[in-house]
């Protein structure tokens, strides 16, 4: 398929964004005055000049076929003079200066299977990763869990149900956390729970033993000779299944149908609004993989959304709410069991102990 004649281009960088900006954006660049939610999934930005830009945000599965992308292009041609964008959470936004077009886009995109929503207080799409679709490291699937959870939470996306503030859900299929789930209101995280199975046959051929030993955060790996072959051994009690060894050495896979599964984390955020950025904290240590619908995972996520929606004050993110009422309340309301696993034992563990006598007390809890 090589076209021998063609000059070979490198390091050209991405296209300059300006080529793709709608005229109204070019004209009012840096001159926006305020915005308003028009209806679920539709907002308008008003410029100092008085110009208006309507954005219709539509759900996307992120994993898109070229066929669907072409349909998006067609819709943009029909109503937006060919202009559209994607968001930092992978939704697609159609951009038009005409209010009536916005309504039409919402309707047609909905009919195509890409409903509008996710603006304002509510739940938008789940930032996620590859899972069984593409990654060698996955402890769970990504797209399937996301689809199952979002089907279940759809009423929080399309504006049917109100919540106190933004609630960001993210999924990563292993501890590498490509979805950056460590700062999400609700994080769904694939976990391995069995130590690596070492292929002593191949290890020395495929991997450098010092590199492998050095890769382990807990120093659980040491060089060893097994069946006369240079290899490594893992001190199993010291392994916490991070799979970093597997990242540097394919001869140490951890994946296991029964031992792989999902953990749920809550209360992270990135914005500085009101409170500072926070990490997500462990809510449920382990739920087995149960495809195609992961019902236990769906239930756990929904439970968190519901107790938060019922109890938080306006604007309170999940973590802010829990900080106010305390973790004992969170565990009691969700019914999640508080276990050994919840108590931190990594390097900053000491600071996670409750170093205060400020406590709420049982008789008042439902």
């Amino acid at each position: 398929m090589a076209e021998a004649q063609r000059e070979r281009l490198t390091d050209i960088g991405p296209p300059h964004y300006e080529k793709y900006l709608p005229p109204v954006v070019k004209k009012n660049y840096g001159q926006w005055k305020y915005h308003e939610l028009v209806e679920p999934g539709v907002m308008v930005h008003v410029a100092e000049s008085g110009d208006e830009l309507y954005s219709v945000r539509c759900a996307s599965p992120r994993l898109l076929s070229i066929q669907t992308i072409r349909k998006f292009a067609d819709l943009a041609d029909k109503y937006c003079d060919g202009h559209l964008r994607f968001t930092s959470r992978h939704n697609v936004e159609f951009l038009t200066t005409k209010k009536e077009n916005a309504a039409k886009i919402k309707k047609e995109a909905g009919e195509m299977g890409f409903p509008a929503g996710g603006i304002g207080h509510g739940i938008t799409s789940i930032v996620h990763t590859q899972g069984w679709v593409h990654c060698h490291s996955a402890a769970t699937d990504a797209s399937g869990v996301v689809k199952a959870v979002m089907d279940d939470l759809f009423e929080y996306f399309n504006g049917e149900k109100q919540v106190p503030g933004k609630c960001r859900i993210a999924l990563a299929c292993c501890l590498n956390m490509c979805g950056a789930v460590h700062c999400s209101d609700i994080a769904i995280l694939g976990v391995h729970t069995k130590p690596p199975r070492i292929s002593h046959e191949n290890l020395n051929k495929m991997c450098e033993i010092p590199l492998v030993s050095a890769s382990c955060p807990t120093a659980a790996i040491r060089p060893a000779t097994v069946d006369g072959k240079a290899s490594v051994e893992v001190i199993e009690e010291q392994c916490m299944f991070c799979a970093n060894c597997f990242t540097v050495c394919p001869a140490m896979p951890l994946a296991d149908p029964d031992a792989d599964g999902i953990s749920i984390w809550v209360g992270g955020k990135v914005s500085d609004a009101r409170s500072k950025p926070m990490f997500s904290k462990l809510a449920v240590p382990f739920i087995p993989n149960n495809p195609p619908r992961w019902p236990e995972t769906i239930a756990a996520v929904r439970k968190i959304v519901e107790v938060w929606a019922d109890n938080a004050r306006p604007y309170e993110r999940v973590g802010e709410w829990i900080e106010r009422v305390g973790w004992p309340r969170f565990f009691r309301l969700t019914g999640f069991e508080f276990q050994k696993e919840h108590v931190d034992d990594f390097k900053y563990a000491g600071l996670s102990y409750n170093r205060s006598a400020q406590l709420t007390h049982e008789p008042w809890e439902e």
Partner: protein, 398 residues
Amino acid sequence: MPKEYKTPKLDDLEKGPWPSFVKEIKQAAKNNEMSNDLLAVLERSYDERIGHWKHGGIVGVMGYGGGVIGRYIDIPDEYPNISHFHTMRINQPAGWFYTSEALRSICDIWEKHGSGLTNMHGSTGDIVLLGTTTDELEPTFQDLAHVGFDLGGSGSDVRTPSCCVGEARCEWACYDTMGVCYETTMRYQDELHRPAFPYKWKFKFAGCPNDCVAAKARADISVVGTWRDAIKVDDAEVATYYDNGMDIFNDVVLNCPARCMKFDHESKKLEINNADCRRCMHCINAMPKALRPGDDKGATILIGAKAPIIEGALLSSVLIPFLKMEDEEEREAWYDIMEEIQDIWCEEGKNRERIGEFIQRVGMANFLEAVGVEPIPEMVAYPRDNPYIFFEQDEEEE
């Protein structure tokens, strides 16, 4: 016509209101053998509850060290069409703006060379083209280049920078995120394409502390817009919010982390002590028609966020409290500091040690000294609380 596979488990995921990735794969699979095999192996994973992908070897395009993730299946005999299934990362346009034409040009190329499946976008921000063979990498790359697209980062290099929509569509943007993101991307073309660092390096640009690109959680360098002067208050609009039933006291005043606001129910006036304001954005978020960031705008530069592997997740911390981003000189000074930091990291950093972990290991104060930046109280949440101070031996008498 591709072989027809039974996929009962996946079929279940075609139901329901949320758009279905299964439908997408099936759509592509109609005339693409790779996507068809992908469907089959995914169903198998759903049955077996385990993935079937192997570690990728080093594959790529000539002269580049990044931009492609090699991927092979562990049962190539059964799914020969995806025995190779590499992804290509294509550097997105800043802010993810497209024209229909631009999108179609990508689709056409990917129809020709790959699976017909994409991620719009990857979580770093790239256009991810999901699945092709080693042979197709170079032709795809050149076809894309000739319509104006280039590869993004992977491996130990500068990763594809990304930014929030910023001044293109947001009234709160305190600098031109898309402009600076583009400038940075172009400036780092070499480092982006030719891994030469101890590990990856991510830039993300957010126009204000809301941080709509989640930089503070996952970028080695987060550039977060902010302002220094007073919040602009439109008294009439404040009163309108109040008249329309907004509980300004509970929802705005009580939520201010600096406790620096007062609201008077009678006069309907909101008073802000701007000296104490922390630029958290909450009041502005809550009343977008009434409040806006000031005019003396710029950005705070933070450093060192990352996911947990290896030493635990990190959040960014303040490196430069305020930089006038529209001032080219200040931007140049910033690029100089970036270079200084990268140099030291390249010299002293361990393999697979992100800059945040590096700073944790050598200590912030030593790091600053090496980079030639003065420590200032803005950089810490609080000064040390332990008395284990390494007093320098020549300084003790001062």
